[in-house]
């Protein structure tokens, strides 16, 4: 067998000829379909790959993409962003979060605005940078505003583990971690009720892959078994996505309904057990987490376990944190977009009042948001 080089992991999974070959295979198989199928790519990374490489152009007419809610910044309701804003205003607090959160508007403005007004807000590449910030500022309280799906949850757990191990007294956490399978169930349940009016039932899922690197493909087992929806866990490179779509189409042609892994070079059924253990050590599920555009989704959020409450900024600062739910801008349809009920160009302010430089909705702010993807790569797509 040939030796693998790093270049192969990039080039061979983006090869144009291979994309076209898969387009042909999909087209040939799609001719055998009894009806059109709608495939939801749950993850924002997939959405970007699909748009960036113009994959809708390569699809036959009876294969449709529905963009899902898999962008942790986009699904964050305004009241959580307001929490971050309020925490940044507290005396002697340094608010630290990942770079994706910079521009997301809350009701008082974004964290970038908070910083412009004098708050000490820092955007980091890795949660572990909090340790250095805390050590350099022993008189300040560093609050890590933690966001992300299963992919980033264990990294927050590692940070907390180190805070405890090294006995660092001035790091706290505000947890906004959410889980993917619960929201997928919610999407199916809420849409199947309205399937006649919506007429765009989710027939299959392209499963988020880096979530599965951590949690294993096993988290999607209920979907083929209990919901009758095939799931193919697919990588993010365009060839991965095309192969994933091809595998889904073949399942429909062959009347199978299974969980399959396309992304075998990284995803296993079990996932990263160390990472899962870290999550289980420090986190509990919360009974409800409110997702932007989706409302309350049962068991879809995480919080620190009771034993670690002394590190929980949400508890320690509860007297100053707003509790009211805040609705989105009236003209913004991020909610419908996150539910896969609408596509960005259907929004009246898309590309005019709302664009990456002046975002109104979260789907335009985040680098993984569907609106940002359409704005950036939309010229590749013919409507």
């Amino acid at each position: 067998m040939a030796e693998l080089e790093l270049k192969n992991l990039y080039d061979d999974f983006r090869d144009g000829k291979t994309l076209k070959a898969y387009a042909r295979i999909i087209a040939e198989d799609a001719e055998k379909l009894e009806r059109p199928i709608n495939i939801m790519e749950v993850c924002g990374g997939h959405t970007h790959s699909i748009m960036k490489f113009g994959l809708p152009q390569l699809m036959p007419e009876n294969i449709n993409f529905i963009h899902g809610p898999g962008c942790p910044v986009c699904i964050m309701p305004k009241e959580r962003i307001d929490h971050a804003y309020v925490l940044s205003q507290q005396p002697d607090v340094i608010l630290v979060t990942l770079g994706d959160m910079i521009k997301v508007p809350g009701s008082n403005g974004s964290l970038q605005d908070a910083r412009a007004k004098g708050a000490d807000v820092r955007f980091v590449y890795s949660p572990m940078e909090c340790i250095k910030i805390a050590q350099e500022n022993p008189d300040k309280t560093v609050i890590f505003f933690a966001i992300g799906f299963e992919t980033t949850t264990p990294m927050t757990a590692v940070l907390l583990n180190q805070v405890i191990q090294q006995d660092i007294p001035n790091i706290l956490f505000h947890i906004n971690h959410v889980t993917v399978p619960e929201v997928m169930k919610e999407l199916i349940d809420s849409r199947d009720v309205h399937v006649d009016s919506y007429n765009n039932k989710i027939d299959a899922f392209l499963g988020p892959s880096h979530v599965s690197v951590i949690a294993g493909s096993k988290i999607y087992e209920p979907f083929p078994r209990e919901y009758g929806r095939p799931v193919v866990v697919s990588g993010f490179e365009p060839v991965d996505v095309m192969e994933g779509i091809s595998m889904i189409v073949k399942q429909f042609v062959e009347k199978r309904c299974e969980l399959e892994i396309q992304y075998k070079r990284v995803v296993t059924e079990e996932g990263n057990l160390n990472a899962q253990k870290l999550i289980d050590t420090y986190f509990d599920k919360v009974s409800l987490f409110r997702w932007r555009g989706l409302g309350n989704v049962p068991d879809s959020g995480l919080k620190l376990k009771e034993a670690f409450e002394k590190y929980d900024a949400e508890i320690l600062y509860k007297d100053v944190l707003p509790i009211a739910e805040i609705e989105d801008h009236k003209l913004c349809i991020c909610g419908d977009i996150l539910r896969g009920m609408a596509k960005p160009p259907e929004c009246t302010i898309f590309g005019t009042a709302c664009k990456p430089t002046t975002p109104i909705g979260s789907c335009m702010v985040s680098s993984e948001g569907a609106c940002a993807a359409y704005y950036k790569y939309g010229n590749l797509i013919t409507s």
């Binding site: 067998m1 693998l4 790093l6 992991l9 000829k17 572990m128 590692v158 583990n161 880096h210 070079r265």
Partner: protein
């Protein structure tokens, strides 16, 4: 946010908590605390995400995928070649003759 970058491990710290990875010519440090001590070795390909190694990339699986894609392209190239011969040949009789040869 969820995107991870394939990188190659070039160095591992003595306490095995950190490593140096190469991402297409750019070198940076990555945290190994999510991995078991013997999970990752120098020369391995890994997925990097917000400063952490998330998992090792299975070289055999990656190569198997690449081989599959090459095979698909070869089969398609062969089909294209056959079709081109049949379509481009204006002499019907010769076309049939070629067609028979190709089919056999």
């Amino acid at each position: 946010m969820c995107l991870s970058i394939p990188s190659k491990v070039v160095k591992i710290s003595e306490d095995k908590t950190m490593c140096t990875v190469d991402t297409m010519g750019v070198q940076r440090d990555a945290n190994l605390m999510m991995m078991d001590d013997d999970d990752v070795k120098v020369g391995d390909y890994v997925l990097l995400h917000i400063g952490f190694v998330m998992n090792r990339i299975d070289e055999e699986e990656a190569l198997a995928s690449i081989d599959t894609y090459k095979e698909i392209l070869e089969i398609m190239d062969e089909e294209e070649r056959r079709r081109a011969i049949l379509e481009d040949d204006e002499c019907e009789a010769r076309g049939e003759q070629y067609a028979e040869e190709i089919q056999s």
